[in-house]
């Protein structure tokens, strides 16, 4: 068995790594947040509190797996699995390093966007099937937020696609091989993608569908045990995915001197993960209608202009 794109070893280790990293992020986020908030965070279980994740896992696996009697059983159970599945599927097209990946798809970018759209169903179904008013408000907000921000997300990366001349994520990385990361020509695209990415993974400041101060826990109010755990880990998976995509699309993927490619990839992705956690520590949450207005009135025109200018430059230099 060889370590190459699509091999069983590659698929297995990517799956395992991604899930373990997402679970570890729970600890990383809590420690980083507490570092920035003048407190200690979880430091009791194991060295530096590292085993906290294990303790959390044991807790969440052994909790009663409860379905509220008033919920719509089938969709209530399906909803959390959908988010896990679509995000894990998205990872299949991410090129982590030369020879490391699941598939090299010619429609990689489109596939990721398609999966992101499916992810919205998870949140909507979860909220609707709970038959809880807070959950309903949460899924209402989620539906509007995720559907709108997909639009800008899609348009914002078209500039990169045009520059690389391919929808294949591996080729997009290779197109940055000479060291000219796409973040420089596509800075606006990068910023819009970053913002839309936060909104898609609904993390603070854009955690409007689950704003705890307003609607308790939003769409997953009624969830507990492992079903809640899937939403929870799904959110971290989404965070890893967005960071990986930013690395691939704008920061040259695995490219870098001296260190092995996979290490470069990990370093770059971790930087963005840390940045997302910092965002959560620093910024208040806008109101739901403010987020929508901002999206449609600022991000949409901006991403369209960015795409047109990029196109014009490419055409004129050909």
């Amino acid at each position: 068995m060889q370590f190459e794109v699509g091999s069983a070893l590659s698929i297995g280790s990517i799956l395992l790594t991604v899930i373990v990293v997402a679970a570890m992020l729970i600890w990383v986020e809590r420690r980083l947040l507490s570092l920035w908030q003048e407190r200690l965070g979880p430091n009791r279980v194991g060295p530096f509190g590292l085993l906290q994740v294990v303790a959390d896992m044991i807790k969440i696996f052994t909790k009663e797996d409860w379905v509220p009697p008033f919920a719509d059983k089938l969709s209530f159970v399906l909803a959390p699995t959908v988010i896990m599945i679509v995000i894990l599927l998205s990872f299949s097209v991410v090129p982590f390093a030369p020879g490391v990946g699941v598939i090299d798809s010619n429609i990689g970018v489109l596939f990721v966007l398609a999966m992101a759209s499916l992810g919205a169903y998870s949140v909507m179904l979860g909220g609707l099937s709970s038959d809880n008013k807070y959950a309903l408000l949460g899924s209402l907000r989620a539906a509007a937020q995720m559907v709108s921000y997909e639009v800008f997300m899609g348009i914002s990366i078209l500039g990169v696609v045009a520059l690389a001349g391919s929808f294949n994520l591996r080729e997009i990385v290779l197109a940055q091989a000479d060291g000219s990361w796409f973040v420089i020509p596509q800075f606006i695209g990068f910023v819009i993608f970053l913002i839309a990415g936060v909104a898609e993974s609904h993390r603070l400041p854009f955690d409007i569908p689950e704003a705890e101060q307003e609607i308790v826990a939003g769409y997953h109010t009624e969830y507990s045990g492992m079903k809640f755990g899937m939403f929870f880990v799904g959110e971290y998976l989404g965070l890893v995915l967005i960071s990986s995509l930013i690395t691939v699309l704008f920061f040259g993927g695995w490219m870098g001197p001296f260190l092995p490619p996979i290490v470069w990839f990990a370093i770059k992705a971790s930087m963005f993960i840390a940045f997302f956690i910092l965002l959560r520590a620093a910024i208040p949450r806008p109101r739901y209608d403010q987020l929508m207005t901002y999206g449609w009135l600022v991000l949409l025109p901006l991403s369209l202009v960015n795409l047109m200018v990029t196109g014009a430059i490419i055409l004129s230099t050909q």
């Binding site: 947040l33 407190r39 807070y134 603070l204 704003a211 609607i215 208040p284 949450r285 403010q290």
Partner: protein
């Protein structure tokens, strides 16, 4: 014993008002009562009370803009009622005039067989909750009130708790048990029925959603329920439901001795600590005729201002947190911890020191107290500046809070809003400046105001108040007078002990005062202070006994919560959370 012969002559503005009313109402005024706080008190019949109150609100110069409080006294067991008309239940209206900087009290005598009088909601909308509370506690009916339901006690409660015949201790009642039927009945009583509040279930083009926000919700700061009528995310109407934190503090005031009630006051506004003791001990001291030494005044002011900072810091942090900014609260707890460390080293306790005493404070300041206070004074301003850049100057926070939950000064008067909520409407009025108590006239400080009356401004005023509090604390540290920490008056509790082993009179007095408690001469008094959240007042009635005959605690939060539906209609759920956060209340302060 010294007699407590303090009956201050009414202020000149009072004389005008009284003359005007005497001319206007003549024989319809049943009696004029003198109380030791100098607030003129008129007795009128229930048929005339509305006309009198309307006169005071509309035609009097100065006019009484605010209905400060409505309460009642069960007079059936009261002995000392010289010069007062016969009455079994007396309803007391307390009015405030900001223009004339004076108060007015109107009393209405009622007989147990017919406890009704007209509602005054059409004069002051905030009468609504006060009348409900009076009904709840005494069974007095206000005719014309739109929904005279119980407010702090559960709807299934039997009896009226502040009547003298109602038991005050659990041991006087049957052991508590809750059968399944009883539980179902209680739960059913808690169900929100929109029709009872005149709400429709649907409009022409949409069906409303009724959402129970609370009593357990992350952002309601305690056990507080608001039933929301929602059209999508837009708030059509709301009904605040309070009482989940009610502990019967006023009833306890009637059975505790004057001295042993002090720790209970700490728990009224549980973020205000000794600030809560202050109006209570000031009121008792006024009735007892105790003048406290200068040192006591300054110590009291210093600790109160420390608690003001603590309370405001917590408000500030939770305000930011409620609009989604997670970090500031953790930073603010660092300062709060510092202040609490100082308070702990002075009082021995942190949040609820119960440290003020009738006629003084519990102990003298410990050696080296000023060192830590000075450290705090050096440490805090830079941190406050940092918070400004983190919270107040944040664009998203501004967009979330500016223009949200706006009310103007006139509305603030109508709803009984005091404190920072009133100053945020551009009205410069601080009790510490207007009617200095406990020596505030000797301090230099500014009264911060803001002009828009929105959520952001309410926060901005409090932030600036913290700086002013630091200024006051600095003056306390620099000019702490020498002297005793307790007054030499015989009613000081516990009394000074130095001479008690030297002459028998002092020993007897000490013994009685410690074992039995001080006997306060019969009188009535209202003392208000500028507490952390607004005006907090204690209305005490002494019947010449070791405990209070009636303890009325008027808290700012109670008045402020009543206003929530008024200022949040048409906003979104997220705005409601910002509005709730900007009010700065604790439920213990609302329910008492």
């Amino acid at each position: 014993m010294q007699s407590a012969a303090i009956t201050p002559s009414p202020q000149p503005v009072h004389a005008d008002v009284l003359a005007h009313l005497r001319a206007e109402f003549g024989p319809r005024i049943l009696a004029e009562q003198l109380t030791c706080d100098g607030i003129p008190t008129l007795w009128v019949d229930r048929h005339d009370v509305k006309a009198l109150l309307l006169e005071l609100h509309e035609d009097c110069r100065p006019s009484f803009e605010m209905l400060f409080d409505i309460t009642a006294i069960d007079e059936r067991l009261r002995v000392h009622r010289d010069g007062q008309p016969p009455s079994e239940f007396t309803v007391v209206y307390h009015l405030m005039s900001f223009a004339g900087n004076c108060d007015f009290r109107v009393k209405v005598p009622l007989q147990d067989k017919d406890l009704t009088l007209p509602s005054v909601i059409d004069i002051w909308p905030n009468a609504n909750w006060y009348e409900r509370e009076t009904w709840d506690m005494f069974g007095i009916r206000f005719e014309g009130h739109p929904n005279l339901y119980r407010i702090v006690l559960p709807p299934t409660w039997k009896g009226h708790a502040l009547r003298k015949e109602h038991p005050a201790r659990a041991t006087e009642m049957e052991p508590y048990s809750l059968s399944d039927e009883q539980e179902a009945y209680e739960q059913d009583a808690l169900k929100f029925k929109p029709e009872e509040w005149g709400m429709k279930r649907e409009s022409e083009n949409s069906e409303f959603m009724f959402l129970n926000l609370g009593p357990n919700h992350p952002s309601v700061h305690g056990a507080f329920r608001i039933a929301l009528q929602l059209d999508g995310e837009i708030l059509v109407d709301a009904v605040p439901d309070i009482g989940y934190h009610h502990r019967g503090a006023e009833k306890m005031g009637e059975r505790q001795s004057w001295h042993t009630f002090i720790p209970y006051t700490d728990r009224i506004d549980y973020l205000g600590g000794v600030m809560n003791n202050l109006p209570y001990v000031l009121a008792v001291e006024k009735m007892a005729g105790i003048e406290v030494p200068e040192r006591v005044k300054v110590i009291r002011v210093m600790l109160c201002e420390m608690f003001r900072i603590c309370s405001h810091l917590l408000f500030y942090g939770t305000f930011a947190q409620d609009v989604g900014q997670l970090s500031p609260i953790f930073y603010m707890f660092v300062e709060r911890e510092r202040v609490f460390n100082i308070i702990e080293s002075i009082c021995g306790a942190r949040m609820h020191p119960g440290w003020f005493r009738i006629g003084g404070v519990a102990q003298d300041l410990p050696e080296g107290w000023d060192k830590r206070v000075r450290e705090l004074l050096d440490f805090m301003p830079a941190r406050l500046a940092e918070y400004d850049s983190m919270v107040m100057n944040n664009g998203i926070l501004k967009r979330r809070t500016q223009g949200v939950g706006v009310y103007d000064t006139a509305e603030a008067f109508d709803w009984g809003v005091t404190g920072a909520g009133l100053r945020a409407t551009g009205f410069e009025w601080d009790y510490r400046k207007q009617r200095p108590y406990s020596g505030y006239e000797n301090f230099e400080f500014d009264v911060p105001i803001a002009v828009n009356g929105d959520c952001y401004d309410r926060c901005a005023v409090r932030v600036e108040e913290m700086r002013q509090s630091l200024r006051i604390i600095k003056q306390c540290v620099d000019n702490m007078p020498a002297g005793n920490y307790k007054s030499d008056h015989p009613l000081t509790t516990p009394p000074r002990k130095e001479k008690s082993l030297q002459d028998i009179e002092t020993l007897i007095n000490h013994f009685l005062s410690v074992s039995w408690g001080p006997v306060i001469p019969p009188n009535e008094v209202t003392v208000a202070i500028e507490a952390t959240k607004g005006l907090n007042s204690y209305y005490l009635v002494s019947d010449g006994s070791t405990n209070s005959y009636r303890t009325r605690i008027r808290t700012p939060s109670f008045a402020h919560l009543q206003m929530i539906p008024e200022i949040s209609r048409g906003f979104m759920v997220a705005d409601l959370i910002a509005i709730i956060a900007s009010i700065d209340f604790v439920m213990a302060d609302v329910d008492r």
